[in-house]
Subunit: 469 residues, 4 copies
């Protein structure tokens, strides 16, 4: 199994040299929610690539001194990385920069290839060697090999897309061009825009465009390749898939920032909508609606709008959760340290509690208990997603099936398990409403996987690196 | 001028040795919002004091390894520090630990003495030397001198309180006792509670008690000294002031965490209340109410409740603001990087925008512009505090008078300046409602200072330390 | 041009798991003089490779905590790295660990391939991508490709040796074996030994064996491959070259530690010998002989033995030269900060000054001036190497020809230039005596290069990394 | 017991602002051998003191960036610190900077007060509080108190010298002056010089003057106070002691750098002399003389001169011993890792082994064994100091009496214990020759302590700090 890549990518292209590293820094910063494990920036100054990447948040990795030691350049590519346990090592950070026959190549990638192992095995059989366990290095190998047979880097990217399958939104940088591509299903978002100074910015989410002063132009279409070069912007649509779109529904439910708009749909608005649907499908007599911060707040507000039950701020989240926070052991309770109930709001109230998911049930149980201790008369849990029942092969870090509570219990049992008076999930058909009928990947809920290939999740790791920070 | 101390303090007392450092860590973590510049913990293991303090957030300063190298102990005192520009050096971190004739003494202090310079001058004239520019070191000197003449440390604390004037909530630790004291005006909050295991926890705010599993017992009264020792808890009330209470009103408006209860009043509830009062005193025809996160959200909700105008989440704050974040220069806009408007919420709406203060007006102006760009038809600014007109001598870090916009313009001018269609401040008489008639210090709004002494703000600094991180 | 690799390599093989990381640490520490820029250790615990490497000295990179987080293992490979300016980045540290079809492979390498660019170009044309600019990655690629066609890793190493040319002493580690190989010319030293506990240790120099308690067994022969595995030690001698040996003569003159024995010749003894030869070939009437510490001391002693002129300690070297030492600018003199003359020794004496080389002449001039200021009546410079006249293509970091003073001036001019009363170099024929007639590479003195290929020193770099420490 | 202070001090005074921090950096660097635990620099820029100090070597603590952030200034004081186990915390680093009635005061101090505890107790009784356990803070308190009663800082220093007793060479800096003082016995060295640019430099050893280009002027006399100010240099000789001088003899034997000249005697020359005396007092038939590097080399050379037995370099010391080196445990041998014998030199030889001391005998025993393993026929140990028999109260870090081997065994027993064929110590009467009859403190050899007061070595510590690096 290759390492999951729930990440943020960013690219910059300008006709004249600009402070590309600084723009990348603030753009990455707006994508920080997509990955907190590590990050990196590569700037292209007339063919000379300058890189820095490390484990840590954007503001930890890039000091003022570090940032100012980048040269100005017309192009940059940047990445912020999410990592599952075990893979948090420096060498897995991106962008990956490689040197080959035609010059340097930098790649930043978000997603998970479903045929990674097969590709890797084929590459190894033909002599390729791997320094990391990431899908991105596989893509680098394939692009490089294709490049040897093709006239231009974008053609190599195109023929690479004939070979790789799964979720990928990626940005590549050659000495002369920035190229971005989105997989034909459009699993992961990708869009671009332009600043007043004619600097093109490509990013996983539109919030990153806004933060650096770029106007959103449009989403990159599923299957589309965009080439930014001296010749302007060229769109290659050979892999575009007009029939089927499969944006990961979790982008709307959880991953994306609420101020982003993905494939024409406002993330915030879709979350408000899940709340409204929950109110219609699982109504209840209650006094207040409380969301679990931060990702449950929008849906809670939607529930309140639809039901007329007052929205309240009843749970406070400690916002100083850093990468180096020490998890409590023994009697101290992690949920209590991160979340706190406001007794004056909760006491003697019947509470509708809205959260975006229940995975193992442990955290939900503790939040319900927090409300009970604060004096809640009743707690009615409403979840703004359907039940998790299937593993994700495209980059969403879902727990293994044996830990998913919805695989083991029915709704009543779960409600009892977490101590709630009632429990309601988002009906699965509501996901269509969420995507305004355009189609999403909802395999984690219904097991219908878009791709033909699946990774073998059990392959052993041969190499272990000490966490190198 | 000594350095302002808007901080959080924490103390622990148990009859038997406990993992005091771990409890202090999680307690401090809940007080992180009171100061992000530095922090420290001192544990008392049978008279041997073990300390560590440094610049940084709680989770930056205390690694797992560092935390586990503290011994167990019956007592601890801890501190999280806010610092104004220039004073962010390691040696100003607290607790301060000093050694003197009667043993070791650790002090953590929150507040600002109004007669600091006079005391310091007297002490220097009698031969005292100072390593730092903090008020805490002054208190340490006074307590130590008084201790030489008194039988017990608590008597020394009491006679110290005859000499020092201003804002102070402090926790002291001697080899045998933990002592806490709150100034007679009660400028800064202080409370205590107890866990199931009979561990006493003293803290600036009740949220810290909850996070480590301690039940709130009560606030320390203004002027009260509490002594925790083998003899149980002893209250000394010689300095208690029954007539006049002057809790800093800004604790309710801005400093404290909304899930804290201070002097019997819920912070969250008082903020909801300011919103309601604003709605009554400054009503307006509008479509939505939007709060500036995080501290404007509660008041926005109150405004919505009272006015019936729907509450909306229209501004998103990037939550990864770290200590090391690089402020943008040039064309990039700091407000745009930290805050983002949700266009789908704002477009074509008349917006009531609620924030907790306007200081210079710059930030407010940029937020209004953000909403305009997102398509707001009208922006009506409502501020959940009165106009800032006077400097604070008790620890609140308010800008100098020449920068305070309310000192230079009337309301209409300010509204024009920030680009708002209308502007309304919290009426000053509403502060009484906020404190439920018990009295607050509101000198920054009305210039009526409770103390007789004032610091000379212009004294030169003789020593400069390089930022030592 | 690939990056020069004047480094130290180390390998460990035991039948049963041992604390391989600890042995590697102390072994590397004894090889620290061969490279101070970075270092790394990879331990093989039953096929699982655990690695750590970074920029810095051995004792900076490996903390106690870091070292103890390695698992025990039967095998390890380790490296300490010398780097020329510009290449001091983390990713160039070794061992390089790669994953390929047959499992993991770790490589540590000392030397410089003379056909690196050709190989790299061929590899790139067949699709290989490079993450670094080091020769070691080239070797990794070649070995991996050969491995696909061969039955065993050692056969792949052997066929790799058909393809690579130049200086290399390398140690490879596969899941089951440790393999070491020395190029057919034997440019760089390599030897092995065994501890009482039957732990085999392979190292660049014998001093590393001694330091970890291993008895020296023998040098690896030029062209020899040794395979350490469950089957014991196997020697493959297909590339052994009986006619021609070309150990870099600079190993004796400068690189190696004096307590090492290389190819049967004591480094210390050979340096004493150069001093004796200098005394015979360039005698002078003088009062004392003084060596420039550290590498000129042995030759100075030899000069004294032969000439009868008393040996004196007249120059003191500051031993705290660390990696992070700041070089003085302006009026302060770097030589004066690092070296100091003992006036009581030097005053009113005629001094024979012995050093191991003159490169640009600047440092020598300053040392002569130091002695003059200390009162030397005469200064007679004697150099324990011949004149540098040619570039080195095998890993010795010699200045470019235009900077080599011996390319621009004759001996009298140089003597005048550096302010010496006389100057004598080691006669080039003496190098035969040094190597006891076995042959050395002395191309930097006489331009007679053993290999058929030469690197193109002018190739541009396409990629630049910020120094990542 | 206060913490021992075997350290280096440095002061700078110029009429016009200079790059004082840079000069201090290179000066400290030349004094690094006097203390490797920590260091600090304080620059006085027209009354504003800028300080930085931390644990680590000079080149670790002061990065280029850090150094360049100091302002220029007319004055500086600097310190490099040696620390015994347990006291290696940041707050004990020097210079200590304190603020008091008359302004700021910086102090750097080398030595150990013999009446520290009495002074500290008196100060505490009068209300003083202590932040550290160092003698330097005691001196700061006394000087500050005296300053209140005196007209000028130098008079306060003078009356402080009436009160403190023991070893001290110290440099103080007030807003207007740099003052240095040496205790009346002259336990620790102190001298000054001047650069061509009229920058005065005061330092523990003359080697530091040379390294920054200052000409040695003279030693500060025992008991002398020198005041550097706008009025030039003023000498105050009220405490000068013409009868009795007691420079610590260990400065010649071990502490000082061989290129320093202390009180008119060359350190190198005195070490050569101890070797000559040893050869006369303990002659032996042998083939070679070998010194234990670094401090035994000079005496070995002296032994060779006197005896006619050839001097050889037979032991190599690994020079990369850093602060963070991990000491081996178990079977690996620390001596073997740090020292190595050159077999070609030692084999079949009768060796005279010269070292500067035997403390517990453990290390000496291992070195003898190293020589035996390398093939020595005989090993004759010669020690360039007399037997250690008494504790030092003035700053030399000597082991406790129960560990001193000379307190427990006679010479024959020690020789047997360490495995030597014979053993000879420097005769105690030779110390007179060493000091050229001027008198030294040799209490550690003969128990005759110059001071009237002695510290109580058993006082408990009340405070423990985590190592804060």
């Amino acid at each position: 199994m290759s390492i999951h890549e729930e990440c943020g990518v960013l690219g910059i292209y300008a006709a004249e040299p600009v402070n590309a590293a600084e723009i990348a820094y603030y753009g990455l910063y707006a994508l920080q929610h997509r990955g907190q494990e590590g990050c990196g920036i590569t700037v292209n100054d007339d063919g000379v690539f300058t890189s820095y990447k490390d484990i840590g948040l954007v503001n930890e990795v890039f000091s003022k001194e570090r940032l100012s030691s980048f040269p100005r350049g017309c192009m940059a590519v940047a990445h912020t990385r999410y990592s599952t346990t075990g893979g948090n090592r420096r060498s897995n950070c991106q962008p990956i920069v490689v040197n080959h026959q035609k010059g340097s190549l930098a790649i930043a990638h978000n997603g998970n290839l479903s045929n990674a192992e097969k590709l890797r095995s084929e590459l190894e059989l033909s002599g390729a060697i791997f320094h990391t366990s990431s899908d991105t290095e596989i893509i680098a190998h394939v692009v490089t090999r294709e490049r040897l047979r093709k006239q231009a880097i974008e053609e190599a990217v195109s023929s690479t897309m004939d070979l790789i399958e799964g979720a990928y939104s990626m940005i590549l940088m050659s000495p002369q061009k920035v190229i971005c591509a989105r997989d034909p299903f459009g699993f992961r978002p990708l869009c671009y825009g332009k600043t007043e100074d004619e600097i093109y910015v490509i990013a996983s989410e539109s919030c990153a465009l806004k933060s650096v002063g770029a106007e959103f132009i449009r989403d990159v279409d599923p299957g589309e390749i965009l080439v930014f070069s001296k010749n302007g912007i060229e769109s290659m649509r050979g892999h575009c898939n007009t029939k089927e779109r499969r944006l990961c529904v979790f982008e709307y439910i959880y991953f994306a920032r609420p101020d982003s708009v993905i494939d024409g749909i406002s993330v915030h608005k879709s979350r408000i909508e899940t709340g409204r649907i929950l109110a219609k499908s699982h109504p209840v007599n209650a006094d207040i609606v409380v969301g679990v911060p931060d990702s449950g707040l929008d849906a809670a507000l939607g529930y309140s709008y639809e039901s007329g039950i007052p929205y309240q701020i009843g749970l406070i989240k400690n916002k100083y959760i850093g990468r180096t926070f020490i998890s409590p052991e023994g009697r101290l309770d992690q949920v209590r340290i991160k979340l706190s109930a406001i007794e004056e709001v909760i006491r003697n109230r019947r509470v509708v509690l809205v959260d975006d998911s229940i995975v193992r049930g442990t955290t939900s149980g503790r939040i319900v208990r927090l409300l009970r201790e604060a004096g809640a008369l009743e707690v009615h849990m409403r979840v703004s997603a359907p039940q998790f029942l299937y593993p994700c092969y495209y980059g969403t870090d879902i727990d293994s099936k044996e830990n998913l509570i919805a695989c083991k219990m029915d709704n009543n049992e779960i409600a009892r398990h977490i101590g709630a008076d009632s429990l309601g999930y988002l009906p699965i058909h509501a996901l269509d409403i969420l995507s305004e009928g355009r189609g999403c990947c909802q395999a984690c809920f219904d097991g219908s996987y878009p791709t033909k290939t699946f990774p073998d999740m059990g392959r052993d790791r041969f190499e272990r690196h000490l966490s190198d920070k």
